[in-house]
């Protein structure tokens, strides 16, 4: 049994510092590390520097609660529940955050390069676009802390004289990666069911990794099928037991996204005061995930509970 098993409170206290560059796992409405994100808000971390591809409800909360100074992203939204994230949009327009736009492939390749120790990675995606031509980070920020000296660089293909131009991207090595998974072994081995998004690349690229999980199982059990595992224990710094830890986003094979909660959030999110009220009601009071889930209510949890034949809640009212 590893001593890495701890509460979200302990994990955030120990591993997340003001100003850290943070990679958020999941994608829009799926497997967002919500339990850890709420704890970061409770512990009032500041000036975080998010590095994400397509986020997502966790990013909405963190930006809305004022924890974030800087974001590198490809997409900021919660799918149909917020085609553009309300708090993300507002913070951007009011210039309370600096935003650097990339593409999903570019961000994924940058995490991959970080995970693989590649000095950089090259792609043709984005040539001639403003993603390549413009930067949303202030010139003063360049080269300080984790901000790369250059957003990217366009060069002639060094191997093929007729190959045209290519975009050279800097690797990402975030201070901390947060991810929510279905299973962790009591040794720290991790397993994701369903799509992995870029979570594995993000974890491998990061200096510290906090994993919340639906269930902790014995080492002997999780190692019976190592083909299904995605992270070795030595890659992980904290394992946080967190049933429904991605709620209100989905967790394949465990629960669907929660349309009731996300629609409620959608109504409150655009307004500063109402968003504050959301935090007062759903974030600040709950040190424990159990208390949070009691507030969500067993009735709602049963509605979104996944049916094992599909891994989601068939027939769920998703309007």
């Amino acid at each position: 049994m590893t001593d890495k098993i701890m509460t979200a409170g302990e994990a955030v206290d120990k591993f997340v510092e003001n100003g850290d560059q943070i990679a958020l796992g999941g994608f829009t409405v799926n497997r967002n590390p919500m339990h850890i994100a709420r704890e970061i808000i409770r512990q009032r971390r500041k000036d975080l520097y998010l590095a994400v591809h397509s986020q997502g409800q966790a990013m909405e909360l963190l930006i809305g609660a004022g924890c974030v100074r800087r974001v590198e992203l490809a997409y900021g939204g919660v799918a149909r529940f917020a085609p553009t994230g309300y708090r993300f949009k507002k913070a951007f327009l009011e210039k309370r955050i600096e935003v650097e736009d990339y593409t999903n492939y570019q961000m994924t390749l940058r995490f991959m390069a970080g995970a693989m120790g590649l000095p950089f990675v090259a792609t043709r995606s984005g040539l001639c676009s403003d993603i390549v031509r413009l930067s949303g980070f202030s010139p003063e920020s360049r080269g300080h802390g984790k901000v790369p000296a250059q957003k990217l660089k366009v060069i002639d293909d060094p191997l093929e004289p007729q190959g045209g131009q290519v975009v050279i991207l800097p690797p990402l090595n975030p201070d901390v990666a947060l991810m929510h998974v279905q299973y962790a072994g009591d040794d720290g081995t991790c397993r994701i069911n369903g799509l992995t998004f870029a979570d594995i690349e993000q974890a491998k690229a990061a200096r510290k990794v906090i994993v919340s999980c639906e269930q902790i199982v014995p080492k002997e059990f999780i190692r019976r099928e190592p083909d299904q595992n995605c992270l070795a224990p030595f890659m992980v710094d904290a394992i946080v037991p967190a049933p429904f830890g991605a709620h209100p986003t989905a967790c394949h094979a465990f629960y669907d996204y929660d349309p009731m909660h996300l629609n409620m959030f959608k109504k409150l999110a655009p307004d500063d005061d109402q968003f504050q009220a959301y935090l007062e009601q759903w974030v600040y009071p709950f040190e424990s995930q159990e208390d949070y889930l009691a507030a969500v209510g067993i009735g709602n949890l049963l509605k979104i509970r996944a049916n094992p034949a599909w891994g989601y809640a068939p027939g769920l009212d998703r309007r």
């Binding site: 799926n30 490809a74 997409y75 799918a79 492939y105 001639c128 676009s129 403003d130 870029a198 989601y312």
Partner: protein, 260 residues
């Protein structure tokens, strides 16, 4: 009154552009419907995949997000972004991407990032996501747009996704190996791109509109000389769309008044 809605004729018009065996990079919304209806009607071997990593899901229920758990079931392979986005540019396959945008210019370049600028932002959209990747790497792109003057613009506020760039051969000269927008499907009609100039022209208009109305809603001069009436949705197409693809009308919205 027609016996179909704009959403329905849009989904069907886009679906007709799909060929059997195409590998379809779908978003949610109309693109999901277009891909699914094409598979059910004339392109049974077309494969739908999502940038999140779900390859060829059974789609028993409509996903409302590309990260919906509904894209992870019945799949050939569950993978992740690296795998799925790599597939976009695979030279073995005719990969077709469906994209939406806030703004489009006459060469099919797209803005899904913002209005204004980083210095003086006026409006923010979600950003590229995988759109710029698809526009850069896929075999072809089909764009869905609401047809409004403020969306069909002379100059994009922000150039998110490359279409035909400045037209002619410019896309190849820039270093792209293939791709470019094939069509723009709007709530008023279907637009295509001239094979030489790569400028947008009106290809087909729906019965409930006209070339003139479309020109008026387009913020740049547009060639109407090749415009023809759009083929009407058939009963069979509408039946498949309504009964099999989106029976809950999660994406299609209300039925046409006539049918109600």
């Amino acid at each position: 009154m027609e016996n179909y809605t704009a959403s329905e004729i849009m989904a069907l018009s886009a679906g007709r552009l799909v060929q059997n065996g195409d590998i379809l990079f779908a978003g949610t919304g109309l693109s999901m419907l277009a891909a699914t209806v094409a598979k059910r009607i004339h392109a049974p071997e077309a494969v739908v995949f999502f940038e999140t990593g779900g390859i060829d899901p059974s789609l028993e229920e409509l996903p409302l997000a590309v990260a919906d758990p509904r894209v992870m079931v019945g799949t050939a392979v569950n993978s992740g972004l690296a795998d799925a986005l790599s597939l976009l540019g695979h030279p073995r396959f005719r990969t077709i991407a469906f994209l939406g945008a806030a703004q489009i210019d006459r060469f099919g370049n797209l803005n899904s990032t913002m209005l204004g600028s980083y210095d003086k932002p006026v409006q923010r959209f979600p950003g590229s996501g995988g759109a710029c990747d698809a526009a850069s790497l896929a075999y072809g792109v089909i764009v869905f747009m609401q047809h409004q003057r403020r969306r069909f613009v002379e100059k994009l506020d922000y150039f998110t996704s490359p279409g035909w760039l400045s037209g002619g051969m410019s896309r190849w000269e820039a270093g792209f190996k293939r791709g470019g927008p094939m069509a723009v499907v709007t709530n008023l009609g279907v637009l295509a791109f001239d094979n030489d100039t790569r400028e947008m022209y009106l290809d087909a208009y729906y019965p409930f509109t006209s070339p003139e109305k479309i020109a008026a809603e387009t913020g740049f001069p547009i060639d109407l000389s090749r415009a023809r009436p759009c083929a009407l949705p058939t009963e069979a197409e509408l039946k498949t769309l309504r009964q099999e693809v989106d029976p809950q009308r999660l994406i299609l919205g209300p039925l046409p008044v006539e049918v109600l």
